[in-house]
Amino acid sequence: MSTPSVKLSSRWPTFVVAGLVAIVAAWLLAVQGAGEHNYRPVLSVLLGSMFWVSVLIGMLMLTMITRIFDAGWAPVIRRSWEFMIGALPIVLLLSIVPLAFIPSFRHLLWEWTDATHLLPSGHEVGHDPILQAKSWFLNPTFFLIRITLYVVFFGVITWVLRRFSFQQDKERDANLTHRLHAVSAVGIPASAVMLTMLAFDCLMALSYHWFSTMYGVWFFALSIRLALATTVILTYRLSNGGWLDGILNQAHRHVLGCLMLAFTVFWAYISFSQYFLIYTANIPEETFWYNIREFNPITGLKSDWWGVSMYLIFGFFFLPFLSLLFYRSKIIAGRLLTIAGIIFVGGIFDLWFNAVPRQINEASAPEGFVVSPFLSGYLALDLLAIFGFGALVIGLFLRSSTKAETIPVHDPRILESINYHE
């Protein structure tokens, strides 16, 4: 191991402390907000953690997918994914678990868990026939069982994937690669079900009238995009004074760039299809979700959420899509880094678009509600939470890198990966 990368890894406590300070600050503001029955600061904690849950679930899927396809390019990069995904259960424990289990937070974020909550129509949630029809799934007991299941499942799968892979460094046993194939073969469909339900519970259920069967796929597409963007940013740093210095080559960047292009298109395909089907069917239970993201219910004019949706179309799809079409964008490190940065920032906007707008009771408004605005001081709190969970994840990532070889030196495909050629 070279000196600069030891130096980098030894800085893990700084990141963990910085992350924890920011997370505690975000939580204190959430507690204060909950005292005033304001859901917005509580949502910041959920948003900050969901951003990194998304990144880490994407990396978990990429780890298993490259295992099962025996991808020759992957081993040197996959070890960094394995370092990252160890943080997934910890992020869930520090955010979604307390948000779901403490009733005052749960009632603010997931209104359907509070039977006495008043709807804009003046009725209580408990008497809502739409909720009653869904109550076999959307009831607090089953909800908490599912949240527990996510933590246990993602805890076990990440532990097993890391454990066998790190064991190979010491035991030099190629059979561990076969065992990891088997783990991935079971893990991919199981994780697909888990991430779909996680997206349903943590994001779609924030607005319980609405439903989209494509929501899980949207979350998967977003997760892989964010995971790839984070990988490009991370490996850029690691190949400039880290453990991938002199290892990461043009062909690795090319393959990451190609995957970013593919999943940019896939994300657009899923997001558009969801909109297109709801637009075509034109059913009020579905269209209201897009209506509150386009119009101000008082004036009837386009709201600031319309601007966010335009940003998603042009800034989060067309800009990265058109740039990634060019071969040179995928091989020149600086250009790929810029595009990864655009996708990383766009992912925050996509989460804002999906999680923040909600109908807030307002008796004086013509339809009985107003929509929470996009532009507000809470955006800074969201960014604080994203920074906090991000610093924690990076800190735990650097800590993991002191526990195992920084590249899998006894992986059967390690030479193929180091000498990877376009």
């Binding site: 034109n282 079409l325 071969y327």
Partner: protein
């Protein structure tokens, strides 16, 4: 004093191993040759760079096809649904970029595929039913155990005797002049 002869296609030279032909290719590239080729029984990694080949131009034709297809899809749906025979469907506008998007999208893919498929035909100058190399008995062996470099007469560096000696100096085994 360029000894150009209309009846000569070029000079072929066989090599024994992948590394011989690889290093010979690098020297041919460095000597500034443009019209020449390497024939091997299997793909050799890094041969593109050793030959100094630029990247394929097919992706440009794919993009051109895709853009053409997208515009065709827009015009098609606009002409049919909004201009030639306006029809209200599900209370939607006669034309908007949303409802006919699947048509625009499919046309983009179809035309991009046409651009790719016919583009590579044009760039590879296909179909071509005969090639002077096919008359060469050694050429058949390049799909078995022989590696071959062919320098073509239309290159400005071509000079029959000099080119022959050049190939020998690169470690070539058997030199043959290919006639048209």
């Amino acid at each position: 004093m360029n000894e150009r002869n209309e009846s000569i296609h070029g000079v072929a030279c066989t090599f024994r191993s992948p590394s011989d032909v690889f290093h010979a290719a690098e020297k041919v590239r460095d000597a500034g040759w443009k019209n020449w080729d390497v024939h091997t029984p299997f793909p050799i990694h890094g041969m593109d760079q050793a030959m100094g080949l630029p990247r394929s131009k097919v992706p440009r034709l794919t993009l051109l096809g895709g853009v053409t297809g997208f515009i065709t899809g827009c015009l098609l749906t606009w002409f049919m649904n909004s201009y030639d025979y306006p029809l209200v469907v599900g209370g939607k506008p006669f034309w908007s970029p949303i409802f006919p998007f699947p048509v625009m999208y499919e046309c983009t893919i179809l035309f991009a595929a046409f651009g790719t498929f016919f583009g590579q035909f044009i760039l590879n100058r296909l179909p071509q039913h005969h090639h002077p190399l096919f008359d060469l008995p050694q050429f058949a062996r390049t799909s078995d155990d022989t590696f071959m470099i062919v320098l073509e007469a239309r290159d400005k560096n071509f000079h029959l005797d000099e080119s022959r000696n050049f190939l020998l100096s690169l470690g070539g085994q058997e030199i043959t002049v290919i006639r048209e």
